[in-house]
């Protein structure tokens, strides 16, 4: 039986919303904000659902709206744009050594990154997107993804090294 648009939309939301929400949360660091962003992105998708569903990648379409908006929100938030201050870091221990505590600290370090770099990491290592797919999700070039990824990893290495030194 052919699904109606609304049944199709509901099925899409059921299947994809948790993954998308988790991505938004990892970028924004705030569950409520991530929920709002996801709902807003889905509203935009719903308005164009008839055309979106005809593509093979409705999730990519929604993810692009979600991620770009999350970056935008992150840029506007003070905590996201505050300069990195090693003394204010919550503790960025070597994750490989510290296990769960280290992962928590690593996440804290990720949140110190600029939103666009954070988004690249989330898309690459949580959503398992390729560089090309990440570029599409961000609406930028593969070159931009590469440079953002490179800077993000360099910053993370720096944070880990700083923390190791302080420890």
């Amino acid at each position: 039986m052919r699904l109606t648009d609304d049944e199709d939309f509901s099925a899409f939301v059921d299947a994809s919303s948790r993954r998308l929400l988790r991505s938004a949360y990892l970028i924004t660091g705030d569950v409520a904000e991530a929920e709002d962003l996801l709902q807003t992105a889905l509203e935009k998708a719903y308005r164009r659902w008839r055309s979106i569903r005809r593509t093979d990648m409705p999730e990519a379409y929604v993810r692009r709206m979600l991620v770009t908006t999350a970056i935008d929100v992150g840029r506007r938030r003070r905590f996201a744009s505050s300069p990195l201050d090693a003394e204010s870091l919550p503790g960025c221990l070597d994750p490989a050594i510290e296990g769960v505590a280290g992962r928590s600290a690593l996440l804290a370090c990720v949140r110190e990154l600029p939103p666009s770099q954070r988004a690249v990491l989330v898309l690459r290592y949580f959503d398992d997107l390729t560089e090309a797919e990440t570029a599409r999700a961000l609406g930028c070039t593969v070159g931009t993804v590469k440079s953002q990824h490179s800077r993000a990893m360099a910053r993370l290495r720096e944070l880990v090294e700083n923390d190791r030194t302080m420890a």
Partner: protein, 405 residues
């Protein structure tokens, strides 16, 4: 170490977000919110105003309703859109009924119909638009802010000013907000960071360039973000602006140039509707519909506060959708509830005179769910769907009940 961090990032991201769960009934919330977002405010200039309120017909069932049923209201289907398209917005001005149509296979479009006959006059297609925000303005002007998807999310990219029949146009620059307030045939006010911007467009079909200049004396009190700014509307000769605060988490209304005159501090944007010199508000969940004067002081009539439906109009949860619209003389309230079959369809649309102190509240037996409303003269135009999950595909006209004028 990069590889080590990469591996750990995967584990960390999985573990850190594992607890996150989407909101319940998210698809229904999206449908309901989509309806609400489209109900945007315009002013008495355009004779239509849109807003969003939450209401529930659960209250209709739970409370006796003192309103009067409107007798003999027969609707006439005026416009039916092409199969597969859906109506996103409607507005009226002069002899025309305007409709924004969502895409089936193609792009968004705005069409003008003869509002007496329903005949299609012209249709403008926006091939690259991801979003449209159309407005009707003074002198029959039609404004469309075109938005596209980009690296920073949805952004307005161009402004179109169209002749009443949509056949002539002038195209202006990217503006700072999709919300604008047409104040003449060729000018509109745009709320921007710190105040209002006046956008002047060449008349449709004439050569020239659009100009923008800061409107003096329109300060909003403190810096605000350009993104997230809400609507602006003329209220009693001044401009009221829906202003985000606290990084966009709170909103209140402020009079431009008089930042000390403000109302509200809500957790979510609170839409409103202007009728004459009054601003009507859905004052948040659990609170009644309120009327504000030009000083943004509550002046809610007693009959509204006492009405068993209207006093709870903001009380339902997010799954309940309803609408609040206004024209110069009439306030319209539509109540919906996805939990019920709307057997109480006679309560699906109510109206009352905007300036009255004692009502009455009149109900119209409109079948289906009201998505959009526009009023001109003695006629009200509705877009409805048979179910909340449906999409509106036609415009039906009804006479405005005499008691509501």
């Amino acid at each position: 170490m990069s590889s080590q961090i990469e591996d750990e990032l995967r584990v960390t991201f999985e573990a850190a977000s594992d607890f996150v769960q989407p909101r319940s009934a998210l698809a229904d919330r999206v449908r309901s919110a989509t309806r609400r977002r489209r109900r945007r405010l315009t002013t008495g200039f355009a004779a239509t105003a849109c807003v969003l309120v939450a209401a529930g017909s659960a209250y209709v069932a739970a409370h006796s309703h003192s309103s009067l049923p409107a007798a003999g209201q027969q609707g006439r289907v005026l416009v039916t859109v092409p199969r597969g398209d859906s109506l996103v917005w409607i507005g009226v001005s002069g002899r025309y009924l305007y409709a924004e149509m969502g895409p089936k296979n193609g792009p968004f479009s705005v069409a003008a119909y003869n509002r007496a006959s329903g005949r299609l006059v012209s249709r403008v297609v926006f091939p690259k638009a991801d979003e449209l925000e159309p407005y009707t303005g003074p002198g029959g002007s039609v404004w469309v802010v075109v938005g596209q998807l980009g690296y920073f999310g949805q952004r307005p990219v161009k402004t179109w000013l169209l002749s009443p029949d949509l056949r002539l146009r002038s195209i202006g620059p990217k503006v700072a907000s999709t919300f604008l307030e047409p104040v003449s045939r060729t000018t509109a006010l745009i709320p921007v960071e710190g105040g209002l911007l006046e956008l002047t467009m060449p008349p449709p079909g004439r050569p020239g360039h659009a100009t923008e200049q800061r409107e003096p004396g329109t300060g909003l009190g403190h810096a605000v973000m350009t993104t997230g700014l809400g609507w602006a509307t003329v209220l009693d000769g001044r401009v009221a602006v829906d202003l985000p605060d606290n990084d966009g988490y709170d909103y209140h209304v402020v009079i431009a140039g008089h930042p000390g005159v403000k109302y509200g501090n809500a957790n979510t944007p609170q839409p409103a509707a202007v009728a004459g010199d009054s601003l009507w508000f859905a004052n948040g969940l659990g609170r009644p519909l309120v009327r504000l004067n030009g000083q943004l002081k509550p002046t809610t009539p007693g009959f509204v506060a006492a009405d068993p439906v209207l006093k709870h109009v903001g009380a339902a949860d997010i799954l309940d959708g309803s609408g609040l619209w206004s024209a110069d003389a009439t306030i319209w309230v539509a109540s919906l509830d996805v939990r019920h079959s709307l057997a109480s369809a006679r309560h699906s649309l109510m109206c009352f005179p905007a300036q009255s102190q004692d009502g009455p509240v009149v109900t119209m037996p409109v079948h289906g769910y009201v998505w959009g409303l526009a009023e001109a003269g003695q006629t009200v135009y509705l877009t409805t769907s048979r179910s909340l999950n449906g999409t509106p595909t036609s415009v039906t006209s009804y006479p405005v009940p005499a008691a509501c004028r």
